[in-house]
Symmetry: C2
Subunit: 196 residues, 2 copies
Amino acid sequence: MSVQQSGRRERKKAATRQKIADTALRLFLERGYDAVGIRDVAAEADVAVTTLFSHFASKEALVFEQDEDFERRLTQAVTDRAPQEPLVPALRREILALVRHCTADSAAPIWHMIDASPALRKYDDSIRLRHADALAQAIAADPALGRSETAARTIARFVIDAYSLAREAPDPEAALDEIFPMIDAAWEAAGAPRHT
Amino acid sequence: MSVQQSGRRERKKAATRQKIADTALRLFLERGYDAVGIRDVAAEADVAVTTLFSHFASKEALVFEQDEDFERRLTQAVTDRAPQEPLVPALRREILALVRHCTADSAAPIWHMIDASPALRKYDDSIRLRHADALAQAIAADPALGRSETAARTIARFVIDAYSLAREAPDPEAALDEIFPMIDAAWEAAGAPRHT
DNA sequence: TTATTTAAAGCTATCCGTTAGTGTTACGGT
DNA sequence: ACCGTAACACTAACGGATAGCTTTAAATAA
């Protein structure tokens, strides 16, 4: 039961996963998401359909492969911020970085594809909501903030809203400039139940 | 082209639709959403599967039959409010009524079923987002409010968040008491670009 | 080394939601 | 009475996803 980190097995598994993801994204961008079937992806990646689904939970998940650290980055923006740095600006910085990342030219075709597919949009929405839950937990867990759990959940949602609103806005950074003062005001209005 | 409201045809169509919805909801509550297939519902309602799908766009839509006026009620809360009544309290009243409606004992089993099914939760989330778009339009269309389109979209999202957060909270009304002051602060912070 | 265990991948067959194609019935307008 | 068409039915299939079982090959024990 030695803890071999880089056995051949795990490398091969990771390679298979990567090959599937790469193939899928390539085919999706070439022919369109709806025009490519799971069987096409599996055949082109030279794996069985069951293997594909042992690596990815659904067809949509193939597209959001890279997006995995979104949740981690947001929660770390809360937990790893400088001592006594206020919450909202820290979150704003991270959201700005994330929005820039997904509106960059390199990511544009992918997000264009997502926006064009109802199934992908729906999937994106639902993972964002799960991210909001994680963010809410991180906020609620910080005793220095001293807000109720409801306030934490609420602000977490608002921050996720900021991300998706900015992503869809014609000028994402200007949208954030407008939304975050609103979030800040909401956060202040939530008050600190006990701060003596 | 007379506007016959109660032709036999339309009555029969409505009856068929109602029978399908009733049958579906009954079977779902009896045996569980996942344990009942579309073919089961169609057989029990004595219609063809294709007929079922000509009345409802998806299996999930069968569950949200009643919930159709959600969007209309919210947008009307904006457009039909008393002259010069501020926006946020009007929205708060309506959200409170909607939350009470869906947390009432009669609706409890349905919402329990929804919360238990990932597919239904996802569907619910996505229709709420579409409702937010409609609400944003209603807000942006009111010249008396004088907020930017981004601010309108943002507040609309926040209001929808309030609904779903309250619905899931242990004490929904207390949650609204906490969330709406935050929304109000956000709305005030958005300011009125031109009000002279 | 050889043997054993176990994780990864494969194959087959199928379920289930959903849709296309094609009729058939019966209501409504003329 | 006639015709157009809306509602519904039937068959067949498509595409995503899964269950059950076998095969391959890496890790570990002997």
